[in-house]
Symmetry: C2
Subunit: 197 residues, 2 copies
């Protein structure tokens, strides 16, 4: 022990964050100590504030500070298109290139019986309700994994013979990759070549 | 704009930290939102708490929560040896291998006239006072740069003909590197081969 306890605690907390090792955590902590108290307070405040204010949008489950998220409450978005994503972070990959102007639906995962994620764990009733409320295209953007495929299949079956354009992203997406990290161009091509189910 | 303002603020605050880009900052923010409120609060508390409690040790200027730091107040450390480092983070490199059992002195920088760091900006009077108070070895661990060399030279001149063993780390340390990131073995060898000035 050669550092004060509050410094060790700060290092431990930083090291809990994903992809931040012990050495990086220490470097971050030293950085904080070398800055004005204001920077630490700003980060601390942003942490508590975001966690406090953000809740799921009541319509699409995207992160929101109000009843409806920024996208759902934007009247200029195409109200009759829903893009189904696994998590809020995946929306970033679409919005970065601006190719899509419809709405989203955040499922909260994909079917994965081994991890205990069944249909009940996903926000499916909400999605079906929205689709029945008048939507003419549903786009599945769930990455390319067996779990994603069976999720699409399940929703497709639940929808039955609805007169609805159902597409999914073109198979240009590399297998096993995380949608959140797809580059804009690949996402653009995959979106444009989306295929009829 | 597709994320709520408090989320964007959190991403901005994370992106201010060193070596955390926009994409990593976003990922960290999403991680926080996916965790229990407690994790965000713990990190927030650790930030404010560390910044609040930690001040320089009145003797060696290392990070401390009390008047004297953990190292200065440890009676089992050799009280007649002082290892002079640039910043608190450098102490880590010594303490990780446990080869050194003496005290430290954190200078707060090295002489760098171009950056406006002259002798007044370093904690020199405090160091001279400590040395005169009865020390028989002073070890300079300031990395290998022209600024470090001139800092050692200056302190050596200020000390004059004091009957004192003055050493510096062996020149095994690669040029231009940051002491904070030296691996333990290199640090060990450099410490053992420290040379008389």
């Amino acid at each position: 022990m050669y550092s004060p306890p509050s410094l060790e605690r700060l290092i431990n907390e930083f090291a809990r964050l994903p992809s931040i090792g012990r050495k990086s955590a220490r470097r971050l902590a030293y950085h904080i100590l070398n800055q004005k108290a204001e920077s630490a307070q700003n980060l601390a405040h942003a942490l508590v504030d975001a966690k406090d204010k953000i809740r799921p949008c009541s319509r699409c489950r995207h992160y929101s500070e109000s009843e409806l998220c920024i996208i759902c409450s934007n009247p200029r978005r195409e109200q009759n298109k829903i893009c189904v994503v696994e998590k809020s972070a995946d929306i970033e990959a679409f919005e970065a290139n601006g190719i899509y102007r419809g709405l989203y639906h955040v499922l909260g995962g994909t079917l994965s019986p081994l991890d205990g994620i069944g249909p009940q764990e996903l926000h499916l009733p909400l999605l079906l309700e929205r689709i029945r409320g008048g939507v003419n295209e549903i786009i599945f953007a769930l990455g390319s994994s067996p779990e994603a495929d069976s999720t699409v299949l399940l929703i497709d079956r639940m929808l039955g013979d609805t007169p609805l354009k159902k597409t999914r992203l073109a198979r240009g997406i590399p297998m096993g990759s995380d949608l959140e990290f797809i580059d804009e161009l690949t996402m653009l091509r995959a979106f444009e070549a989306r295929e009829q189910i």
